[in-house]
């Protein structure tokens, strides 16, 4: 079963045609990397998967995005976003809330827990899953703004997975982190893919090679090549892909 499928997807910002007829199939419980040079439309593509793009009034989408076979455009956007979590390039925990509340907020407001006890358990579970529990278990009530960048990003992962989504979108989750923190996030990705499908955007081919099972190469809004990660890295079929992987392109 494919977690996400796009059918002849076109995306425009006003008159700027940014995604040009992308057909993708993202198999369930894999790590799927989308790579490509800056400005090629990776973030735009990713944001269409959870209908976050619709926050932008200029954005227009044609074609279809399917979540486990169902068109996301026939679903309530809120339901889509509960099933498709997202982690952003800039860690964005809510700085005025405590660490605990950051994770608890989505659970409470989406009424996913029935009791205080269940809330506490789920928050703990999510923080453990995101390898943050040991570092924060004694300061759950401190503001999230007191964490380091890497910790903030793991808190964002905890916040997303607390809702038990089926898919997790990650838009360059390590781009603003130091190497050690980045490493931790990559390790986390291995752990998480047992339970869910991860789509990660990166402009580092090396990172795509380390973490992903499948990789898609996007260039100027077109899908140039997609396939198993080893195959693409060992034997790219398109010249553009090879150029990109060998660093001969921006």
């Amino acid at each position: 079963m494919n977690a996400i499928e796009t059918k002849d997807l076109h995306i425009y910002y006003g008159r700027n045609h940014v995604i040009k007829g992308v057909n993708l199939e993202i198999p369930e419980k894999t790590v799927f990397a989308i790579m490509g040079p800056s400005g090629c439309g990776k973030s735009t593509l990713l944001r269409s998967f959870n209908r976050l793009l619709e926050l932008n009034e200029n954005a227009r989408i044609e074609g279809d995005v399917r979540l486990f076979g169902r068109s996301v455009f026939e679903m309530d956007p809120i339901e889509v976003r509960r099933e498709v979590g997202m982690v952003f390039q800039h860690p964005n925990p809510f700085p005025h809330m405590s660490i605990f509340d950051n994770v608890a907020l989505g659970l409470k407001l989406n009424r996913l827990v029935k009791s205080k006890d269940e809330l506490k358990k789920t928050v703990k579970w999510a923080l453990e899953k995101s390898a943050l529990w040991d570092e924060v278990k004694d300061k759950l009530n401190e503001p999230a703004s007191a964490l380091s960048g890497g910790q903030m990003q793991r808190l964002c992962i905890a916040r997303a997975i607390a809702l038990k989504p089926k898919v997790l979108l990650m838009d360059e989750p390590t781009a603003n982190l130091d190497p050690v923190s980045a490493r931790k996030i990559e390790e986390l990705i291995f752990e998480l893919k047992k339970d869910l499908t991860i789509v990660i955007v990166t402009h580092s081919p090396a990172q795509a090679a380390r973490v992903s099972d499948y990789v898609a190469f996007l260039y100027l809004g077109r899908l140039i090549e997609v396939g198993k990660t080893e195959e693409i890295f060992e034997n790219p079929k398109e010249e553009l892909t090879e150029k990109y992987l060998t660093g001969r392109m921006g």
């Binding site: 926050l55 509960r82 979590g85 952003f88 964005n92 809510f94 907020l105 407001l109 703004s145 916040r159």
Partner: protein
């Protein structure tokens, strides 16, 4: 080389003097109000705060009804004005490109600059005339109308100042727009919104014009119902200085100092404590 240095010096001296001239009136006001008002308050003592107005040419008495009135009017005005103003600000921030959103923002800007005496006239027409009497309610409504644009504009700006990444983060959690705004963004913008609220309150606590034809004024009876006339410190000062009695002028100075203290008590802590939340 030398010419440039001299020019620079002259320029610096020039703006220093101009700056000084600009703020001079402020200090002069504070200084003269303190010098004239303090002895009055000290002489009047407690009675000055809680008593009622003395007869012409006979001692100080007190300005209790006006003080209470100012607090009542400000409180009622906040009750009437703040919820609507904050919601208006939220609307303008959330729908900046809609027709109504754009219109709201323009209207707020006009309202901010609107002559407040006209607000008083308007409320007199719709409330005082039909009710047949000046009232605390009418005064509070006029103040609420004066207060609203400040609060709404500050709310809007505070919300628009919240970085996009937090909005997106909140929506990505599957929150409804209502929850995104009320459970996340408001919290992030709370300092800015609170600033607006306090500026609005400080502004109307010192207003005279909107009260002239609405609150009516009362110097010897305390607040006794929202449908009854009520006093206010600025209104009292306005009345007293027009009268020919020496003691009324003294009382006006004392009242001015109290008004200044109330104003500074709202304003100074606000200015001093407002370090924005780091985003």
């Amino acid at each position: 080389m030398l010419v440039r240095k001299v020019k620079e010096r002259l320029f610096l001296a020039g703006i220093t003097i101009l700056t000084f001239l600009t703020i001079l009136p402020l200090f002069h006001i504070i200084f003269s109000v303190a010098v004239e008002g303090l002895p009055v308050i000290l002489r009047g003592g407690w009675d000055f705060i809680i008593g009622t107005l003395a007869p012409p040419d006979d001692g100080l008495g007190g300005i209790g009804p006006a003080i209470v009135g100012t607090f009542v009017l400000t409180f009622l005005a906040s009750l009437l004005g703040l919820p609507i103003a904050i919601l208006t600000g939220i609307y303008a921030a959330e729908y900046p490109n809609s027709m109504l959103g754009k219109a709201t923002r323009t209207l707020l800007m006009i309202m901010m600059e609107f002559p407040t005496i006209l607000v008083g006239l308007f409320v007199m027409q719709i409330l005082v005339v039909p009710m047949g009497s000046y009232s605390a309610l009418a005064g509070a409504l006029a103040l609420a109308i004066v207060m609203m644009p400040y609060v709404a504009v500050y709310t809007e700006e505070a919300l628009r100042g919240v970085p996009e990444k937090y909005r997106e983060g909140a929506f990505a959690l599957g929150l409804t727009r209502f929850n995104v705004v009320f459970r996340v963004l408001i919290g992030l913008a709370r300092k800015g919104i609170l600033t607006g609220v306090l500026i609005g309150i400080a502004k109307v606590a010192g207003e005279t014009a909107p009260l002239l034809f609405t609150a009516g004024g009362a110097t010897r009876t305390y607040f006794n119902g929202i449908d009854r006339p009520v006093g206010a410190i600025p209104l009292l000062i306005y009345d007293l200085v027009q009268q020919p009695y020496e003691n009324y002028h003294e009382i006006a100075w004392g009242a001015s100092l109290l008004l200044l203290i109330i104003f500074l008590a709202i304003f100074l802590p606000l200015r001093l404590s407002l370090k924005e939340v780091k985003l």
